[in-house]
């Protein structure tokens, strides 16, 4: 894992010629992880090299820990805990605590999303990505329509067991990223402000009076953001923790025989969701919840998404439709930069 370290002290100059105010440095550590870019940004307790050095060490340690967790949850290496679970021929499979907790969170996202978020759809996703690749994938495509995708967890005193039909495979994907961002942020509680960016799923904690600006990427442009949000930590309002996540159909997108598909599978059909939402961003209390609701909004489509989001405790939501419309929930305007 390669770490890139940046520490920059920003200067605010009084235009009237007053004294120059030095703001405490911001420490950032960024690396390639989970198939994307993961970054941790921390504001030290006080200004100075020693404080910045402490913050950098904490950020690097957290990033290493996050990498270790991610390595247990990925489906792209055969030695991960998730890969072992997927490959097991047993109905009842023991799993270690990190995977058990992540699957427990996945179960919660199912309830949160009304069943739209489903981590047992790996075969359907592979079928969408490689519809006629080989026999294995054809078998996977068949499995995608498997009616029985029920699975359960047996939590023992020392070990947790996953009970599922043999052949049912899991893909934690974004569910794991949001969950990991929140978990990593929990290790940075001693700093006035900290942000964990798990490949676009962002867990944010801002102390009272801390105001940071965040961008929402425009899938149609590499250089410009769709919108920017100013998030403010407020002790009076009791707001200090945020989750900001984006999901969409424009990155993992494939064309097969003139037909375009994407990776967001609607569990009601086992196929890529026919949606008018190109991208959805949700701002709420945690990154895990934001990721689950953003994915739900895309799969449901704009009309049903706005109804569903109205029933959720979210700070804001921004939907970009294939017609080029930008739909915002009313509460979003509070945060617009």
């Amino acid at each position: 894992m390669t770490l890139a370290f940046a520490s920059a002290a920003s200067l605010a100059v009084d235009p009237t010629g007053g004294p120059v105010v030095t703001e405490p440095a911001l420490v950032s550590v960024v690396t390639s992880l989970m198939g994307g870019t993961v970054g941790i940004h921390v504001r030290p307790v006080v200004d100075g090299m020693a404080a910045a050095s402490d913050a950098r060490r904490a950020a690097e340690a957290t990033l290493r820990r996050l990498g270790a967790w991610a390595n247990r949850l990925t489906r792209f290496t055969e030695t991960s805990d998730l890969a072992r679970l997927n490959a097991s021929t047993d109905v009842r499979v023991p799993v270690r605590p990190t995977l058990a907790t992540a699957l427990d969170w996945a179960r919660q996202t199912e309830g949160l999303s009304g069943g739209i978020v489903d981590v047992a759809l790996l075969d359907a996703r592979l079928a969408a990505e490689h519809p006629v690749a080989n026999d294995t994938v054809s078998a996977a495509a068949t499995a995608a329509s498997r009616p029985d995708r029920t699975w359960s967890m047996d939590r023992g005193r020392r070990m947790t067991f996953i009970r599922r039909p043999v052949g049912l495979r899991f893909d934690l994907d974004g569910v794991a990223k949001g969950w990991l961002a929140d978990r990593a942020l929990g290790r940075l509680g001693s700093f006035p402000a900290a942000v964990v960016d798990a490949d676009g799923d962002i867990a944010i904690r801002l102390g009272d009076g801390e105001s940071w600006r965040f961008g929402i990427a425009d899938p149609r442009s590499k250089d410009e953001d769709l919108l920017e949000l100013d998030l403010l930590g407020s002790a009076v309002d009791g707001i200090g923790s945020f989750g900001l996540a984006t999901s969409g159909t424009s990155v993992h997108r494939w064309v097969h025989g003139g037909h375009t598909t994407h990776h967001l599978i609607d569990p009601r059909t086992g196929k890529p969701a026919p949606t008018d939402v190109v991208q959805a961003t949700v701002l709420t209390a945690t990154a895990g919840k934001a990721e689950a609701l953003a994915k739900t909004a895309v799969i449901l489509g704009s009309e049903a998404a706005l109804i569903a989001l109205a029933g959720q405790d979210v700070h804001g939501a921004i939907l970009l439709t294939e017609r080029g419309e930008l739909l915002l929930t009313p509460s979003t305007t509070r945060w617009l930069a």
């Binding site: 911001l26 940071w212 600006r213 990427a217």
Partner: protein, 138 residues
Amino acid sequence: MSGIRDHRTARPAAMARPDVTQAAGPVQAARPAPVARAKPDARPLRIAYGMGALAAATALVTALVSPPPAGAAAGSPATVAMTTITLPTDPPQPVKHVIQYVQLAPGQTAPPNAAVKVVPTPKPRVVVVTTRQSGAKP
């Protein structure tokens, strides 16, 4: 003082001194038998201690119960009485509570005639963090 004698230190008259007149031989030859060494009389020192303690107790009691001299302490009952006589027309001054500022919570309104200062929103720290779809280049 009184004629009370401490029985522990009083000596019987017969034991006060050896009777040298009863010696039969020459004085040089008759070595007197050793007698207990007389202790110093403690009564003068006791009297001195007693007098000192009595003087200290008297001074303490005097300090506690005697009134202070007039005008020695402002705010004492005597002083208040004098002020009232000197300025009989002054009304009693009520206690005045001065509230310099309050912080309004969301939904609260400022009291009438209060000067309202709006706390400036902190200038956002521009952070290079962008939420994006998974796998997209940051």
